[in-house]
Assembly symmetry: C2
Homo-oligomer: 370 residues x 2
């Protein structure tokens, strides 16, 4: 059941437009995007005549299953005697790239150089020499930020999986339950709903621990009147979801409730500000303005949101002074938070698709849980 | 409860030895190793006069809690009006690094350049100019490969957590149980045992799916006489565990049992070959030799193992032609596998500490489960 079509045609169109003969694409998420195969050490060499996916020998059978319609060539520095993999290249990924660039007779080649480790980039430059003519890191990042319908569908399905995790959490809250135990309940529910992986390590944080925007669950136990922050996501059909809810256990003291209500109001303002043609800084400003009026802006210490896709953090960023314009097909999170060190934290996060006319939420879980 | 002491003194000793005035250390795991703080965007600037941990504004309070004894300086491109964080630097991480290098009056600075993204490395070079005098990527990697006692203790505890996951799996096996559901059982048990995170996405693969060395759990349901491969790990006190078991559901057909027994024999041979002073290729050769004699060597399509620590894959590698010598304090996995495409896969993996006199297993879960 392949829900999302590999986006190789978009890369070929880029090569055509820029006048490159071919491209070397590195990095698990980029290769996944263009080929449908997700695995370590894979490199895509694309040309106008065809494309080859180079994978470490151990990934060969998985790549053959997942990367339909693209030639798969395994490489290995020390091939196993007696092994039967057609097209096996003896050498490192660099040797494999050089071989295939040669086989295709490529002249001018582009690569996403900036995003790969400096040491590897240096070796690739040395290997390809003058042929390596352009860096297409930002082109690919921009391309990936605009989702096609099948990608949106996968992400909406991944959001359902995360929401199954949230539902299990709401049902499980109990006095004395530790953060790690609750994280286990949440993770198990996401798996049962079909999660291939988690988008990131699930955050479960109570009260003062929720004042850390990023933290791991601990043995801290839940007490009446505390807030429970859960930030979670699942990968489904290769695509990520990302959602946060802050819920009350028992009845919150007035101050906690005030903070939670302010964050919710800020979030709604941020969501309402999303539309095509809007600068990416505007939703951030809208949410920040609400918190400003409530005297809480100094506790909102990060930007409003980020793009989501194959990676849980990708382009665009919704932050101050972000000049980029939002475009139909972008999927972003809207996640204002208030973090009062030593006291409590509140964050509410949803995934929003920019549409031709405005916006559509990909998440639907009840927000007012306090 | 800090189990593992930050290893900053080892970095300072390296600077002394190499004659550098200071170091810029990037990357989540490296910064974690030297400071005790784990979070995105953090950079350590160490000098003989002191050390500063530079963190994005949103990580400030967590860094203050975790990085005891090191100055923490937050940076943010657009500081929040009214914010109260001492030492806040307005700018990017690059501006923050330049400022602190200046404050310490550093002349000759080393950095772990090779391991960071090429684009970022270029910016750092531009920012520091002639001051950036050496790449210490491999020095840090080598340093991290030799564990101190407190690190070994953390990893042994993390192994216990993973083994709690395995125990839950053994108890849960049932006809019709899907791979994703079983992964949920395993993950929940690791959380209940205290997992801060998973070392990597848990692999649960039945029979022919187990022939992919790396794969995500699917809706494939379990039937009698099939093998169940589970590869899992937990992070505890910041350190990873990594263990694999292949177990039978019901009674295996003779061929499956033969393969499993061969892999176990190969694994024991690999473990027995580990000792200080041994070349890293020797355990691989020992395990491969067993499979050769059983006619299965052509199905063992990866190397024998890898170092484990803060990262689940780190130095050294136990692979063919690995000339490096094993040293006391190294912790490596020993994980031969046989992968017969379309039929079945078997892998058995343990964590082994190289000691002064030989080796010690950090994992203790029963291996013969077929």
């Amino acid at each position: 059941m392949r829900v999302v079509k590999p986006k190789l045609p978009k890369l070929l169109a880029l090569l055509e437009e820029k006048g490159h003969d071919g491209a070397v694409v590195l990095g698990m998420s980029n290769v996944h995007y263009f080929t449908g195969f997700r695995g370590g050490g894979a490199v895509l060499v694309a040309s106008r005549e065809g494309a080859s996916l180079l994978v470490p020998q151990l990934e060969y059978s998985k790549a053959m299953a997942d990367a339909v319609g693209i030639e798969v060539r395994p490489y290995y520095r020390y091939p196993v005697p007696g092994i039967t993999m057609p097209g096996l290249i003896e050498g490192t990924w660099l040797d494999a790239v050089a071989r295939v660039v040669e086989d295709y007779g490529l002249g001018r080649v582009a690569a996403n150089l900036s995003s790969i480790p400096h040491g590897e980039a240096g070796k690739l430059k040395e290997k390809l020499g003058e042929k390596l003519a352009a860096d297409i890191t930002s082109d690919i990042s921009k391309m990936r930020s605009i989702k096609e319908d099948d990608e949106v569908e996968a992400m909406a399905a991944a959001a359902r999986v995360a929401e199954a995790g949230l539902r299990a959490a709401v049902d499980a809250l109990a006095e004395g339950l530790s953060e790690v135990e609750l994280a286990g309940v949440v993770d198990e529910a996401m798996r049962r709903a079909g999660a291939e992986e988690y988008s990131f390590p699930t955050i479960v944080a109570y009260e003062e621990n929720a004042a850390y925007p990023h933290t791991n669950p601990t043995w801290r136990r839940l007490a009446q009147g505390e807030v429970v922050l859960i930030d979670l996501g699942a990968r489904l059909h290769g695509y990520c979801s990302d959602i946060t809810r802050t819920m009350a256990f028992g009845s919150l003291p007035p101050r906690s409730r005030e903070v939670a209500e302010a964050v919710l109001e800020a979030q709604l303002a941020g969501i309402d500000a999303i539309a095509p043609g809007v600068k990416a800084e505007e939703p951030d400003a809208a949410a920040r303005g609400v918190l400003e009026r409530r005297g809480l802006a100094k506790y909102f210490i990060h930007s409003l949101g980020h793009g989501v896709g194959i990676d849980v953090h990708e382009a665009p960023r919704l932050s101050r002074a972000a000049e980029e314009e939002l475009e139909p097909g972008m999927v972003v999170t809207v996640e204002p938070g208030v973090y009062i060190a030593g006291a409590l934290g509140v964050r509410i996060e949803d995934m929003v698709l920019v549409t031709k006319k405005g916006r559509r939420l990909l998440t639907s879980f009840e927000r007012n849980l306090f």
